[in-house]
C-alpha cells in the first residue's frame, strides 16, 4: 500500500522519477538567480502544460536601487514570458498559492524552502533552488527521488490556549532539525480532520524545519469545502494503510504553548518557563502565521488594550489585508498600538521592514530563528499568535494561558 507521496509521484519510495510539474513558482529572492540560469541554459520559451508564477514578496517594496533594478528585470521577464505575475503588496508566494490555486494530487515546486506549505491540500509540494527552477521553466519537468514518509498521527483537539503553531513547534522539537531529512511527513488520524485549512497550512509549513521535503494532509471534507468556496469541485483523497519509516503520535489535547529558543527551531520550551523575558519587538506575520484567522485571533486578544513593546503586524496577502480592513480587525490592531507592514515576508529574512539591532530580542510568529537571520546580533524566539499577543501586551514573553 502506498503513502500519499508515492500515490502522487506514481512510484515507490527510493525510486527516481521524472515528472511533469503542475505549478511552478518563484519569488523576487530566488527568481533573479533562476532568470540568470535560464538565460545561461539558452531558455527561449516556457515548457508546456505547466502553470508558472512569479510573486514579489521578499523585499517589498524594494529597499534600495539595486533591489529595484533586479526586480525591474524579473518583472519584465515574468510579463514578457506570460507567467502569472503578482507584484509587490499582493502577498507571500505560498499564501497566494493557497488562496484557491493549488489542488489535491498536484505536483507543485516553488523556488523557496517553505513551498512545503501547500502539502496541506494533499498536493506534493516541495522547494528547490534557482537552477532547478530554471530547468522547470525550460521543460515543465523535474526529477524527484520518491521519499520515504514519517507518519504523524494526530488525535484529540486543542485545549486551552494552544494552537497549530504550538503543535508544529512540538513536532519539530521531537523530530529534530534533520529528523525527516530526505523524507515526507504525512499528517494523519482523526485529529488531522479536526484541523482547519489555516491550521494545516501551519503544520505543513514547518515540515521543512525537520528536514522534510514535503508535509502532506489527505484532502478531506475540510479541503473540499475550502476549495468549493473558491470555485473548485474536487473530491477527497482516500488514505491507504501504509508503512511509515517512523511514526510520531501526538494528542492535541496535551499540546501546550511553546517557543523555540535561539538559534534552533527544534529547541522548544514551554512559554511558561520563559515568562518575563524582556522583549524589544513582537512580529506577527509570515507564511506561517500571517493569515486572516491569525490576525483576527491577535486582534481579539489585544482589542481595547495597548501593546507594551513595538509590535509589527504584516498580513500574508492583500486579500488577508482587505478582509482585516472590512471586518474591523485591522482597526483593532492599529488602535492597540501596532504597526502594519506591506503584505509580504517582512523582516523574517532580515532585509528590511523591522530587522533587529545588535542585542535586541524578538518574539516572532515566523518559522526560523537562525543566528543573525533577522539582523546581526538579534535573538529570535518563535511562538504562536496567542503567545505573541500576550507577550506584546506585557512587553516580555508571557503565557497566553494567563490572558
Amino acid at each position: 500500500m502506498s503513502t500519499l507521496s508515492e500515490c502522487i509521484l506514481g512510484a515507490a519510495a527510493g525510486e527516481y522519477v521524472d515528472r511533469k510539474v503542475d505549478r511552478a513558482y518563484a519569488h523576487d529572492g530566488t527568481g533573479v538567480l533562476a532568470l540568470e540560469a535560464w538565460k545561461d541554459m539558452g531558455g527561449d520559451r516556457l515548457g508546456k502544460d505547466t502553470e508558472y508564477y512569479i510573486q514579489f514578496d521578499h523585499i517589498v517594496p524594494a529597499n534600495n536601487g539595486t533591489t529595484a533594478t533586479l526586480q525591474h528585470e524579473l518583472r519584465d521577464f515574468a510579463k514578457s514570458s506570460f507567467m502569472q505575475f503578482s507584484d509587490i503588496g499582493c502577498g507571500i508566494c505560498h499564501q497566494l498559492m493557497s488562496e484557491g490555486i493549488v489542488l489535491p494530487g498536484e505536483i507543485v515546486v516553488g523556488a523557496d524552502s517553505h513551498s512545503v506549505t501547500l502539502g496541506a491540500f494533499g498536493a506534493f509540494s516541495t522547494g528547490m533552488g534557482a537552477s532547478d527552477m530554471a530547468a522547470i521553466w525550460l521543460t515543465g519537468e523535474t526529477w524527484f527521488r520518491v521519499p520515504e514518509s514519517t507518519g504523524i498521527h494526530l488525535t484529540g483537539r486543542f485545549s486551552g490556549a494552544a494552537e497549530a503553531k504550538d503543535l508544529a513547534l512540538t513536532y519539530v522539537g521531537k523530530l529534530g532539525m534533520d529528523g525527516a531529512t530526505y523524507q515526507a511527513l504525512e499528517f494523519v488520524g482523526e485529529g488531522a480532520h479536526h484541523l482547519s485549512m489555516d491550521e494545516r497550512l501551519v503544520l505543513s509549513n514547518l515540515s521543512v524545519e525537520a528536514g522534510a521535503k514535503a508535509g502532506l494532509f489527505y484532502a478531506d471534507d475540510v479541503t473540499v469545502r475550502y476549495l468549493k468556496e473558491r470555485g473548485y469541485d474536487v473530491g477527497p483523497q482516500d488514505a491507504e494503510p501504509c508503512d511509515y519509516r517512523q511514526d510520531l503520535d501526538l494528542d492535541l489535547t496535551d499540546i501546550v504553548p511553546v517557543v523555540a529558543v535561539p538559534h534552533r527551531v527544534d529547541t522548544i520550551k514551554p512559554v511558561a518557563a520563559l515568562a518575563g523575558l524582556p522583549l524589544d519587538q513582537v512580529f506577527v506575520g509570515t507564511c506561517t502565521n500571517g493569515r486572516y484567522s491569525d490576525l483576527a485571533r491577535f486582534a481579539r486578544l489585544v482589542k481595547g488594550r495597548r501593546v507594551a513593546v513595538r509590535t509589527i503586524v504584516i498580513p500574508a496577502s492583500a486579500s488577508v489585508l482587505e478582509k482585516a480592513i472590512r471586518t474591523g480587525v485591522l482597526a483593532d490592531i492599529v488602535e492597540a498600538g501596532c504597526t502594519i507592514g506591506t503584505p509580504g515576508c517582512g523582516p523574517c529574512i532580515g532585509y528590511h521592514m523591522g530587522v533587529l539591532g545588535d542585542g535586541e530580542v524578538c518574539l516572532s510568529t515566523a518559522n526560523r530563528n537562525f543566528k543573525n537571520r533577522m539582523g546581526v546580533g538579534g535573538e529570535i524566539y518563535l511562538g504562536s499568535v496567542a503567545t505573541a499577543a500576550a507577550s506584546a501586551l506585557e512587553g516580555e514573553i508571557a503565557s497566553p494561558e494567563a490572558a
Partner: protein, 156 residues
C-alpha cells in the same frame, strides 16, 4: 571525478543563513558571496577556504533554498563538502552548480589532506579509506557536465 584538499572542520546543522546571510543576497556578484561566506560562524574562515575540503557534521545546508549558499562556497574555492548528511535542497543546489558533495561519516582532522574519487566511490584521510554513498545517476550526470546549466545546454 578526483579531488584533493585541506580539511576544514565545521559542526553539524550548518544552516544556509550562516553560510551566506540574507543581507548579502541582493547582488549577482559571486565575489561578494565568497568574501562573506560563513561570516556569522567565523569571520576569519572565508580567506582560508581556497583549496579546502569542508568536513562537516550532519544536516549540512539546512534551511533556506538560497542557491547563493552553494555558490558562495564554490566561489570561495572549496573543492568539496563532506558530511554524514545534507539538507536536500542544498544537496540539489550544490550539484546543480558543480560543487561536489560527499556523504560520508569521515572524522575530521583540521588541516589534514583529504583525497576523493567520486567515480571510485571513496574518500581518503589520515591514511584511511572510506566508502561513500554514491550519487544518483542523474546527479552524477549533472555534476560531470559541470552543473545543471551545462547539462541542459548539452541536452537540448
Amino acid at each position: 571525478m578526483l579531488g584533493t584538499g585541506t580539511a576544514i572542520c565545521l559542526p553539524a546543522d550548518i544552516d544556509t543563513d550562516v553560510v551566506i546571510a540574507g543581507r548579502y543576497l541582493r547582488t549577482r556578484d559571486g565575489g561578494i558571496w565568497a568574501a562573506h561566506v560563513f561570516e556569522d560562524l567565523d569571520p576569519t574562515l572565508a580567506p582560508r577556504l581556497r583549496g579546502a575540503v569542508i568536513v562537516a557534521g550532519k544536516n549540512f545546508g539546512c534551511g533556506s533554498s538560497r542557491e547563493q549558499a552553494a555558490l558562495a562556497i564554490r566561489e570561495a574555492g572549496v573543492v568539496a563538502v563532506i558530511a554524514p548528511s545534507f539538507a536536500r535542497i542544498f544537496f540539489r543546489n550544490a550539484i546543480n552548480i558543480g560543487l561536489p558533495l560527499i556523504e560520508s561519516d569521515l572524522t575530521c582532522e583540521e588541516g589534514s589532506t583529504v583525497t576523493f574519487d567520486l567515480s571510485g566511490g571513496w574518500v581518503e584521510a589520515g591514511g584511511k579509506r572510506h566508502t561513500i554513498r554514491p550519487l544518483s545517476l542523474r546527479m552524477q550526470e549533472i555534476l560531470m557536465a559541470g552543473g545543471l546549466v551545462e547539462y541542459w545546454r548539452a541536452h537540448r
